[in-house]
């Protein structure tokens, strides 16, 4: 199979499977809470409904307001081309960016959604300002995790990181790497708005991400909702394929191999979802001003991983 086709397959996997994973998460949570829960395909029905709804734009909204969901959705469509989602070698556009480049594309998506919604109404302004405040505390952890990866592998490229980790089991079990996984997992919970943060509810006290999309409707709301599903999916697959479990990706471009890669990705992701459900069902939601404590602890883990790299020389024997 041509690499360009693999590229398109990766984008399609992210675009089509991301609502399914959100649905599975909701369903598993419902089962744990002894509820019947909605169907795992509910996010697809929701998206279909949002696409059919009428588009209303507030009078004080500008051009950026309309462009923002489209731009951020496009960013999330670009990211699967440059990250290891199902195929373990770089696709044609992957050499253009490394980890930091990927973080810049993520950054563009959140930047445009913040400036678009910062002054539309009271609730969107709350969402935007909170996203900036807490985002600025989350960023040092991300940078430190990237530094840690760069220390282990000597590069900032996600594909090489994946190869190095998959070949060296002693790296996987080193304190440096385990602490890095813990820091990145905390960051993942923050970025996807899972329970210690719970940014997705409509409760005003804890509203972060949901606040920003408050005024959107119709097509634009559907795009931003779909974009948030894709963002979760991409972050989860980066966590799995680059950090936590670098095995099981497609190793060649044949049809069977790619299907195998997609299947293992789904299995790995369901395991990660079980981890999310465990956290969501056992922890209480943090109060908003405690989020900085939470992010400080993730920063602590990231720094300790780097300190332990220097103390132990990184590799476990």
């Amino acid at each position: 199979m041509n690499l360009q086709v693999v590229n398109i397959i990766q984008v399609l996997v992210v675009a089509t499977l991301s609502p399914l994973m959100a649905g599975i998460l909701k369903k598993v949570e419902a089962i744990v809470e002894s509820r019947k829960g909605v169907s795992i395909f509910q996010p697809y029905y929701d998206l279909a409904k949002f696409f059919r709804k009428e588009l209303v734009i507030p009078t004080n909204a500008g051009v950026v307001y309309v462009l923002a969901p489209i731009v951020s959705f496009t960013c999330y469509l670009i990211l699967p081309m440059v990250l290891p989602i199902v195929y373990y070698n770089p696709c044609p556009y992957a050499p253009m960016v490394d980890f930091l480049g990927g973080a810049f594309i993520f950054g563009l998506a959140s930047f445009i959604s913040i400036i678009a919604t910062a002054d539309v109404n009271y609730y969107t302004a709350i969402g935007a300002s909170r996203a900036v405040t807490f985002g600025s505390f989350a960023e040092p952890t991300l940078i430190m995790v990237f530094f840690g990866v760069a220390l282990i592998t000597g590069t900032n490229n996600p594909f090489i990181t994946n190869h190095v980790l998959a070949r060296n089991i002693q790296w996987i079990l080193s304190p440096t790497h385990l602490l890095m996984i813990a820091a990145f997992f905390m960051l993942l919970l923050f970025d996807t708005g899972k329970i210690p943060i719970e940014s997705e509810g409509l409760m005003e006290f804890g509203m972060i991400d949901e606040g920003k999309t408050m005024e959107y409707s119709g097509l634009l709301y559907a795009l931003s909702k779909w974009g948030s599903y894709m963002k979760s999916f991409i972050l989860m697959s980066v966590f799995l394929n680059v950090f936590a479990f670098p095995w099981g990706l497609a190793t060649n471009t044949s049809m069977q191999s790619i299907i195998f890669g997609i299947a293992t990705l789904i299995v790995k992701m369901i395991c990660l979802i079980l981890g999310f459900v465990f956290v969501e069902e056992t922890f209480a939601k943090l109060r908003l001003f405690k989020l900085i404590d939470y992010l400080t602890i993730s920063f602590l883990l990231a720094i300790l991983s780097i300190i332990s790299f220097f103390i132990f020389g990184g590799v476990a024997y």
């Binding site: 079990l173 080193s174 385990l178 404590d293 602590l300 720094i303 300790l304 300190i307 476990a316 024997y317």
Partner: protein, 205 residues
């Protein structure tokens, strides 16, 4: 293999010190310091088994008995007895304390790099733990927590004793008894007064 597990446990010990630094309630803090001592005892057992040293195994049993069980029980009994300890630390300042702890860790690593010529290699973690114990004593404002900080320092010394050079068993056992006596004396002294959480405040003019 043993070495990597010991390294990992060392990092966990460091994490427990940070947990104590960030914790604002007293009972979880005492539980954490007990956990820290037990982790240290596991390190002793591992090194004792791999190097076939009986004294380390005896020491690990002593550590679990005294630091893992007896001292935390004494401290917790004091909490149960007097309602004043159920209160939390007056100011929490978690982000600030954690960041200061991190700076101290990095500084400790850099300083130890210079000191290691004289003292011996691999002592980075005990040294950092020792400094963090200081920080706990400085930053926290009530007597029981400061005693917890003291136990962290003792743990750091014991850890250094295991990792860097072989200390005689009798010396270690003496330190254990000292620690127990000190905690008892501290609890008795604290029981004499009824200021509780804010008792350092009275020293301020």
């Amino acid at each position: 293999m043993i070495v990597s597990i010991v390294h990992f446990l060392g990092v966990l010990i460091l994490l427990t010190a940070f947990e104590i630094l960030a914790q604002s309630y007293i009972r979880p803090m005492i539980n954490t310091v007990a956990l820290q001592s037990i982790l240290l005892a596991i390190i002793m057992i591992l090194i004792g088994l791999s190097e076939k040293r009986v004294d380390l195994l005896i020491l690990s049993v002593l550590t679990i008995a005294i630091r893992g069980v007896a001292i935390p029980e004494v401290l917790k009994k004091d909490i149960r007895k007097r309602g004043i300890w159920i209160y939390r630390e007056v100011e929490t300042r978690v982000p600030a304390l954690v960041i200061i702890g991190l700076i101290i860790s990095i500084a400790g690593y850099v300083i130890y790099k210079e000191l290691s010529v004289f003292i011996g290699r691999n002592g980075d973690l005990p040294f950092i733990l020792f400094l963090l114990g200081f920080l706990v004593i400085i930053a926290k404002k009530n007597a029981l927590t400061q005693m917890v900080g003291y136990i962290i320092e003792e743990n750091a010394l014991l850890y250094a004793g295991i990792i860097i050079s072989h200390m005689p068993l009798i010396l270690e056992a003496g330190v254990f008894l000292d620690l127990l006596a000190l905690v008892l004396a501290g609890v008795i002294l604290a029981a004499e007064k009824d200021y509780g959480v804010l008792e350092l405040e009275e020293l301020v003019g």
